[in-house]
Chain length 346, copies 2
């Protein structure tokens, strides 16, 4: 592939939990890079990052940073994306945005490659990466949707603190240590950094991720509801979500009840999931085998288990879906999209 | 109340996590005790326990231990109950059994006082205390059942390690320390002490509580399904449960989706819950107020919040239910039943 086209790639939010994983994946997967530009806020600019055999100095992200950039991966928060994505597009870059800024924009494809990679060709400069908790769920449900149809999804999540950034990881570990030492843990960041009330996350479960909307659901829950319909391309799917933060570092777990549109065979469901791209079936109760956050951490795949037919509704299934929220839930999904763009242009 | 009848009370499993709470509650609530007999396995016999102004020496539980006992509270495991409850009944005691031994026996009332205290009069020597995760759910749902009827419940649990006993608490705290110190945590007890495969609980979520049944559900899940119908006295309620252990010490949390049989008003639901016995409404999203395991720990009540109408089914509600699994989920529910028995006989 020595004649392969090579791309000028920018990573915005290079020092964040997701940005770091994007850089690592671009490196490990030998993404065809010509120039790599690492961008951040002024505060983090100047930091040096190792990439292949070179060192890349992080620069402050400005509207002019995107001159000559082919592909820009954004994960520096919605406000940064809203401000800088238009400039990147103007300079000719394709943007892959990991924030919620453009996800529900009807002009912007919202892409999980295992579900709707065909949508990337419709982009008008930006492709949105869905919310972490949505990505793993739709990736796991897609083979069932294609075979049986889906009428309803009821999901309760068990989400890792890394979804709230590196500071939330540090807070959870610090609080855990404080509780173990018999000291009072001092909540400082979670559940929502920008909101006034803080709750202990160590040895606790907080039923709030993101702010509340008017209808009593949180934004995180509404993301799961709305993004699922958009990614599946089917507004008729009814979705209910309850999103909960638990003291896990990496890996979101999800308890999912799903009603299918037609009768199903449980062995067929297992076989569909076992053969789906990016999905690993881990479902052997006799061996106490099922997906676990600690085991999914660091992996690119989504793990599915605890598959069982509902006892009251024979067209419904229950399952347990686990994936690394920073990888398939963020960085890896974004790099996957970038890889498809690179293939398209070669 | 000096002429009040006083009872000879036995506590079987006096050194266990639940037994200790039963003794504390009998003490704090000034249960009308004449003689208190604390019973355990031979291994723990001889231990002295402070009760009021005296010391009680724990004795080995044998068939003869129940001579003269009026009320016997059992929480030493199903096998001990199966073996000793018949002897206690023979000696004339009323048994309150906190194990699963008699719960589904059609002759045995399964009682949550807020739901079906009227059933205690039907006992034939033993009253069963339901499973912890079931108790808090039915207590919270009872006012909605009475007003609107319930057709379906879909619940995902976030259960504390104390539900698996004092050893599981120690294991979770030890593993947490090991992970924080960069050492490998060595799983030893959870998810199920008597099963061969062990999983890390620190900073993890384990979708297995108790063994698996043939249908892919665990016994814990089947308990929630079957006990809910029995306690509510309504086999038409459809229940689905996914039971998950998370790294919390005390307090089970539950994400509950419930379909009502008739239209409801959300403010009326809040008012019903706020006024229900043993239930506390904690539901103020604007103040980021909702039930939390760390706050419910040590309390007798069940806390309910995150109440919101489902977006796809206007007759369905979502809610978050939290209670101390060793108290309302076990010891307190048992002592409550004992208090009703004492009142009946006075």
């Amino acid at each position: 592939m020595s004649n392969q086209k090579r791309f000028n790639v920018a990573v915005v939010g290079a020092t964040g939990a997701v940005g770091e994983q994007i850089i690592r994946l671009l490196d490990e997967r030998n993404f065809p890079i010509n120039e790599l530009k690492l961008l951040s806020s002024a505060r983090s600019a100047g930091t040096k990052v190792k990439f292949k055999d070179r060192e890349v100095t992080i620069e402050e992200a400005t509207p002019d940073s995107f001159k000559g950039i082919d592909i820009a991966l954004f994960s520096a928060g919605g406000d940064v994306s809203k401000k800088l994505v238009p400039h990147a597009i103007e300079h000719g870059a394709v943007c892959i945005d990991n924030t919620s800024a453009f996800r529900m924009d009807p002009e912007t494809p919202l892409v999980v490659p295992e579900v709707n990679i065909d949508k990337i060709s419709e982009h008008k400069g930006v492709i949105a990466n869905p919310n972490c908790s949505t990505i793993q769920m739709v990736a796991a449900l897609k083979p069932l949707y294609d075979r049986y149809g889906i009428s309803r999804i009821i999901v309760s999540t068990y989400q890792a603190v890394s979804g709230a950034g590196a500071k939330a990881i540090n807070e959870m570990l610090r609080q855990s240590k404080e509780v173990l030492e018999g000291r009072d843990p001092n909540p400082d960041i979670l559940p929502v950094g920008s909101m006034p009330v803080k709750h202990q996350i160590a040895f606790n479960a907080i039923p709030q991720i993101d702010k509340f909307t008017e209808n009593g659901f949180t934004y995180e829950e509404m993301k799961m509801i709305n993004e699922t319909k958009k990614i599946m391309g089917d507004d008729s799917i009814e979705v209910t979500a309850t999103c909960v933060r638990i003291p896990v570092v990496y890996g979101h777990s999800e308890s999912v009840y799903v009603e299918l549109k037609s009768d199903f065979d449980l062995e067929d469901v297992k076989s569909l999931i076992a053969n789906a791209p990016g999905i690993v079936l881990q479902d052997n109760p006799a061996e106490q085998q099922y997906p676990l956050a600690t085991e999914a951490a660091g992996k690119l795949d989504t793990y599915v288990g605890r598959l069982r037919r509902d006892l009251s509704n024979p067209r419904a299934l229950n399952m347990w879906i686990v994936s690394d929220n920073l990888l398939k839930g963020a960085a890896w999904n974004a790099v996957q999209i970038a890889e498809y763009i690179a293939i398209e242009q070669n």
